[in-house]
């Protein structure tokens, strides 16, 4: 890495360039390396090597200066990222701090970012569900956005490809709206989760409570050992980086695998300023990078470019890649670039108690987090006054209850005299939002970052459909909880800004028609066919599954296409 000869153009020329090293960029890098393409992976942040760069991974609670708490100084300096559930003393070094990389909030938007090799794949919640045609058909059936140019059959083999390598645990549930995959054994539901699952099955049509499918090695196969990964040890300290490689991250899996191929070069501290376009050739020729340490501009060249900078930053790169052919951003003939941004609505929760199954508890920790309820609203037909629907998490737990009454010997006794609480149950919504032209990102006209790149301006907000859906989630879950016999049911909604779901999507959407979309069915820019965008930016609609698995499948499929094209 250290000996980059930037003087020679041939030294700066590759078969492929991947912009971004996270969830989808890692996959592009791995697939390109496997296929023998000389590939440069650009990462704007620092390198984070598996294990070596997980400084907190084996720390005990008492080894943290504040035993896990975030100091007031850091909270006050970082009102945005501090709202993220995983931003604690043990993992804050993997999050972008508010002041380091400013952006413009035309409307409130909590943009949660991880600028390092591996990106947010170190920090994700590891939930992985396939889409089905009930999702891909959505926009066409319900008349919003544009029709997806692909269907489940196009992506299914690539889901399998990803799942086998990444390691996804789950059951073969046989649910049409949530297709089964290549699963390692699921993490089972506990007594009350099972009870609720049975209850829902008996009393509701087409509603299911299943073991959450997640990217954890419940029972690794040879392919996982080959990556240097081992069985998940149920620490549930994943956000620190896992010394076992027990969950999938680019750091533990795709990036080291890609580097091992011998064809892939990783260059951290390299923020992409723009993709260069040659009008005579009618294609992109490479990327212009700013070294974030030296602020030196460097150009790299390649036949094919994969843009995987994470949804909104992929928008930024294209918006900032202007030429006389593309004055409004690379490939932006349709004028849709930066528009039709959407996200997931996570702003409702429900909690309750179950006064039974007292003879059962759990032992150890469940990395899957419990149960998952696939979307049941408006699946087979439109049945509500809002479009689309929501998935939901569901989990049941008991905890160690102690009293901290008294002082002295009384207190000491109370603190070790624990009893097991009764069962608590909880659920949260994950709602689909409808992409709209008015939800957009754009370049700020005057403000630039320290590398001279315009700041991203974000204008994204909820709408009436979201409000109605949120209300329906609360009603439906309250009813399901009530009929299951749960008590003390308390629904809570919050007014979180979009973004905190960390599922921002769109802006570079796929579609059949170049007049109304940016990408074709292979994730290529309609108007610049050697640039592929396979991260969240490419999403035409959001459905309500956790999106990472789909981005990974997109990336692998697109690489396969790019390589087969290059052989023509």
């Amino acid at each position: 890495m250290a000996n980059f000869n930037i003087d020679s153009k041939s030294e700066r020329t590759f078969d492929a360039i991947v912009i971004g090293s996270g969830m989808s960029g890692g996959w592009a890098a791995k697939e390109l390396g496997d296929k023998g393409l000389k590939t440069l992976v650009l990462e704007r942040g620092r390198d984070v090597k598996h294990n070596k760069d997980y400084p907190t991974t084996n720390m005990y609670p008492w080894e943290f200066a504040h035993h896990g708490q975030v100091t007031a100084e850091i909270r006050e300096a970082n009102p945005i990222v501090n709202r993220c559930y995983a931003f604690g003393e043990d993992a804050m070094h993997f999050f972008v701090k508010d002041k380091e990389h400013p952006y413009v909030q035309e409307k409130p938007f909590d943009w949660i970012r991880g600028y390092q090799v591996g990106g947010k794949s170190l920090l994700w919640a590891r939930q992985t569900q396939r889409w089905s045609d009930f999702d891909f058909d959505g926009p066409a059936r319900d008349g919003f956005a544009v029709d997806w140019p692909i269907r489940y059959k196009d992506i299914a083999p690539w889901y399998s490809h990803i799942e086998k390598f990444a390691g996804i645990s789950g059951n073969l549930d046989g649910i049409a709206e949530l297709p089964d995959g290549e699963f390692l054994p699921a993490f089972p539901l506990n007594a009350v989760e099972q009870r609720f699952s049975k209850h829902v099955k008996q009393h509701y049509q087409n509603r299911h409570v299943i073991s959450a499918r997640c990217a954890h090695l419940s029972k690794p196969n040879q392919i996982h050992f080959d990556q240097g990964r081992a069985q998940c040890q149920k620490r549930t300290l994943c956000q620190r980086g896992c010394p076992f490689g027990g969950y999938f991250s680019a750091n533990s899996s795709t990036i080291p695998w890609a580097l091992k191929s011998g064809h892939v070069t990783l260059r951290p501290f390299s923020v992409v300023e723009s993709i260069m376009y040659d009008e005579k050739l009618g294609k992109a020729t490479g990327v212009r990078v700013i070294d974030t340490n030296t602020k030196e501009a460097i150009e790299y060249y390649a036949d094919v470019i994969f843009l995987n900078a994470a949804a909104l930053n992929s928008n930024l790169v294209l918006l900032n890649s202007t030429s006389s052919r593309f004055p409004n951003g690379l490939g932006n003939d349709s004028g849709t670039l930066g528009k039709y941004v959407a996200f997931h609505n996570y702003s409702a929760h429900i909690n309750a108690e179950w006064d039974g199954d007292k003879e059962w508890t759990t032992d150890g920790r469940n990395p899957a987090g419990g149960g998952y309820i696939p979307r049941f609203r408006n699946v087979y037909k439109q049945e509500t006054d809002f479009l689309r629907g929501y998935a939901a998490g569901f989990s049941a737990y008991r905890y160690r209850e102690t009293s901290s009454d008294g002082v002295g010997e009384d207190l000491k006794k109370n603190l070790v005299n624990d009893s097991l609480s009764g069962w608590k149950v909880g659920s949260h919504m994950m709602g689909e939002t409808i992409p709209k032209k008015s939800n957009y990102v754009a370049l700020d006209k005057s403000q630039k970052d320290q590398w001279g790149i315009p700041l991203l301006k974000i204008a994204v907000e909820y709408d009436d459909n979201d409000a109605k859906m949120k209300k329906d989630y609360v009603e439906q879950m309250t009813e399901m909880f009530t009929s299951a016999g749960f008590t003390n049911i308390k629904a809570s909604t919050d007014n979180r800004a979009p973004g905190l779901d960390i599922h921002e999507m769109g802006g570079v959407r796929m579609g059949n028609d170049p007049k109304t979309s940016m990408l074709d069915k292979w994730h290529r820019l309609h108007a610049c066919q050697n640039v592929y965008v396979t991260d969240g930016a490419s999403m035409t609609s959001t459905s309500c599954q956790n999106p990472s698995l789909t981005y990974m499948a997109f990336a692998a499929r697109a690489v396969d296409h790019a390589v087969s094209e290059s052989k023509k």
Partner: protein
């Protein structure tokens, strides 16, 4: 456990904020713990340490001072409380001292251990009484702040998590259906 070693270990953990005193009971009014925001004199510092030790005294097991929990309390309030929380803490500290003075005619630091314990127990009792008007007083708030941080520091201390309960960094297992009876036997 050797107290000095325990405090030194704690100080190592706490990092630069805690400057190791040669003697924690410096009564000359000079503070011995270096804090960034909180301005405590030696008297006040001792009060907080003594209160932490009253809440969690050395018995046949280590107390707050043995485990450096009093230093942890300072650190948490100094680092993790916002300005408002720190102002409330300081106001409560003053009021707490005044209440003790009024009741006993001497300072909290001058009380015997038995008197301190009796005073703390009184606050605990009063706080539980719904008819008690004083339960929202600043002095009471101060007491619960110190107690909250003392209990948090203690229950997340190495001593507590290794010798009083079993904390598992690496459980290595998840049994979804586990009989409570079996758990009790463990």
């Amino acid at each position: 456990m050797n107290r000095r070693i325990a405090i030194r270990n704690m100080a190592l953990i706490l990092g630069s904020a805690a400057v190791l005193p040669s003697c924690l009971h410096d009564n000359k009014g000079k503070p011995v713990v270096e804090l960034k925001y909180l301005k405590l004199n030696g008297e006040q510092e001792n009060l907080v340490s003594n209160l932490a030790e009253t809440i969690l005294p050395k018995t046949n097991t280590p107390g707050a001072k043995d485990l450096g929990i009093n230093l942890f309390v300072f650190k948490m309030i100094d680092d993790c409380f916002d300005q408002k929380g720190q102002d409330e803490f300081m106001a409560g500290l003053k009021e707490f001292g005044d209440v003790v003075d009024k009741k006993y005619g001497k300072s909290f630091n001058e009380l015997t251990a038995a008197e301190r314990t009796a005073f703390a127990n009184d606050i605990e009792k009063q706080s539980k009484d719904p008819n008690n008007k004083d339960k929202d007083a600043k002095a009471t708030g101060f007491y619960w702040t110190v107690k909250g941080q003392t209990v948090f520091g203690y229950t997340t201390s190495k001593y507590f998590m290794t010798e009083q309960i079993i904390y598992e960094l690496v459980p290595g297992r998840y049994n979804a259906m586990f009989p409570v009876k079996k758990k009790a036997a463990v």
